[in-house]
């Protein structure tokens, strides 16, 4: 019992630290990547001075995220003359909390066997016994469903924020946000349904483990090769869920000031921004888990590599754990970078275009993808039976 608590406590600390770091770093990555894409230099002024010296640590402007956070915390929490107190206060948290909670079911590493990891010291090893842990916080069978469920709670937060602010811009932003997110939720759900049909499970660890095999003898059995259309639809729908630029109509600086959080200031506004940036990391983690083989390298499983020729390369447990965690982070970082690339490349849709894109283009595509998947799965399983 105690052992479970220790291990899960460590997981939770790791996950929270990971998400917060991603939230902070991504603000910097976004600015820097946008600058480099536009032949500029980008954020480069914030520095930490080592006390009592004149040594300034600039580190390519890495501390701009820190400076932004500090500014948000220290600013005056300005409130409008009339607003709904309760809803106004809890709205940022309703946006922020589900984003963090989603990560509870996403596996960020393979199976952890503490006894084998601490085999050097027999006391610890015997204390842990033969317990094994999948590296994720909540061992839920309904992993993917939980992700979708928490994803749709965010809509409530933005609706509350817009409604409670007593501001027409906020209200418009909230309405846009709600209709947009409901539309794209549908696309996302239908897309993921194809994957569920193929893998036959909604447990994310199972999904990752099924992706460590091979397709046609040489391709890694990643979701992106099984469901290429699904991957594109998923990333489009996820970007829309995240309300970032091709789909940033709920925020729309040029028309709605800041959309549903127009009336928010200081850290309350910071929470909305932070939630948005963490959501990028969450989307990247989900995409990695569902389509890019999760924490595994190609042809890799917990025990070792099974190369296409049938050759098996075993790796030790400690190496596997470290490698899986690092691989997961690298994949998430690359997908985040790709999402930022999309955000800084594409022009914005008009509002009617956003909804038309969802209902007339993505939804039929998702349905067609689902039908094809169903037929293919039925044919293959029928052939097997």
């Amino acid at each position: 019992m105690m052992q479970d608590l220790v291990v899960h406590g460590a997981f939770i600390v790791y996950a929270i630290g990971l998400l917060m770091t991603f939230g902070l770093i991504l603000t910097w990555v976004e600015r820097k990547q946008a600058a480099i894409m536009a032949d500029r230099i980008g954020a480069n002024r914030a520095y930490l001075r080592i006390p009592f010296t004149q040594i300034k640590l600039v580190w390519w402007g890495l501390f701009h995220g820190l400076a932004d956070g500090l500014k948000m915390l220290l600013k005056e929490d300005f409130k409008a003359a009339s607003y709904d107190r309760v809803a106004y206060a809890i709205a940022p948290w309703i946006v922020f909390t589900p984003v963090l909670l989603v990560f509870a079911v996403i596996p960020f590493g393979g199976t952890l066997v503490p006894a084998e990891l601490f085999s050097g010291s027999p006391d610890i090893a015997s204390w842990f016994g033969d317990r094994t842990y999948a590296m994720r916080i909540a061992p839920l069978d309904a992993g993917l469903l939980v992700v979708l469920a928490f994803g749709s709670i965010t809509v409530l937060g933005s609706m509350l924020a817009g409604w409670s602010s007593d501001n027409k811009f906020s209200m418009l932003g909230a309405i846009r946000s709600a209709s947009q997110m409901i539309s794209y939720e549908l696309v996302m759900g239908l897309t993921v349904l194809g994957l569920i049909l193929i893998y036959g499970t909604v447990d994310l660890v199972d999904i990752v483990e099924q992706q460590s095999g091979t397709l046609l003898g040489f391709l890694p059995a990643w979701g992106i090769f099984l469901q290429p259309v699904g991957a594109v639809l998923f990333i489009a729908a996820a970007q829309a869920e995240n309300r970032r630029i091709p789909f940033d109509l709920p925020e729309a600086e040029s028309e709605l000031i800041a959309g549903y959080f127009t009336e928010y200031s200081a850290m309350k506004m910071g929470l909305f921004m932070f939630a948005e940036f963490i959501e990028i990391a969450i989307i990247a983690a989900l995409f990695t888990t569902l389509f890019l083989g999760g924490y595994n390298l190609p042809w890799m499983s917990d025990a070792g590599f099974t190369l296409p020729g049938g050759h098996f390369v075993p790796i030790s447990h400690g190496a596997a754990v470290v490698m899986q965690m690092v691989v997961f982070l690298v994949k998430v970082m690359l997908i985040c970078s790709f999402l930022i690339l999309v955000r800084w490349s594409l022009p914005r849709f008009r509002y009617d275009q956003v909804l038309r894109f969802a209902w007339r283009f993505l939804l039929p595509l998702a349905l067609a993808n689902l039908v094809v998947t169903v037929v293919a799965v039925w044919a293959i399983q029928g052939a097997g039976a």
Binding site: A35, I36, M37, D39, L341, L346
Partner: protein, 190 residues
């Protein structure tokens, strides 16, 4: 009340897209490949120790291609013996629209042709708008502006003042049109 339904006007030069462009996905990929290509190119330059940006890293890096008549940092011209040519007439301070020039005049009875000189001559670069009126107003050609702007920015406004000695010496220039004889006896008045 009945209103006419909104009919969108069709213009003669309406941009036409073929079905390939209308499908959008491949055009997106094309756009992403362009921006991604620029990103990787610039990133590769940064990684290999070159500069991957077109912008200058001001103020650490100053562009070499300032215009010849760019109004940059001020200088005070020197007489042949190193004293400032300024006669503290206050015309530049008067004409300055930003009121950023402060001059304190001093009296030097030994220098009979120009007994009045600038004891203090200070410019506040946090307020200067680089209009060049001071240069135009000066009857003695004592203040000039050069194209370069080294070392102007500072962390706070108190470090953005520049005093007489700095103005005289950061880029010493002489007025060749007026070769004054050196002052008898003393050196630079303080």
């Amino acid at each position: 009340m009945s209103r006419k339904p909104f009919v969108r006007r069709v213009y003669w030069n309406e941009p036409a897209m073929n079905w390939w462009e209308r499908f959008y996905l491949f055009e997106i990929l094309r756009g992403l490949s362009i921006t991604g290509g620029v990103f990787t190119r610039n990133m590769w330059r940064w990684i290999t120790g070159r500069k991957g940006a077109l912008t200058a890293y001001y103020p650490e890096e100053i562009r070499p291609d300032y215009a010849r008549h760019n109004r940059g940092k001020h200088i005070l011209t020197q007489r042949p013996d190193g004293r400032p040519q300024c006669i503290a007439c206050n015309m530049c301070a008067t004409v300055c629209p930003a009121r950023c020039i402060e001059i304190e005049a001093g009296l030097d009875p030994d220098d009979t042709p120009h007994p009045k000189y600038a004891k203090r001559f200070e410019i506040d670069y946090s307020r200067c708008i680089f209009c060049g009126f001071c240069v135009e107003a000066c009857p003695e050609d004592a203040i000039r502006m050069v194209p370069e702007t080294p070392g102007l920015p500072a962390q706070d406004r108190w470090h953005m003042w520049i005093d007489r000695d700095a103005l005289l010496n950061w880029n010493p220039q002489r007025d060749v049109a007026k070769p004054y004889p050196p002052k008898p006896g003393k050196g630079v008045p303080t």
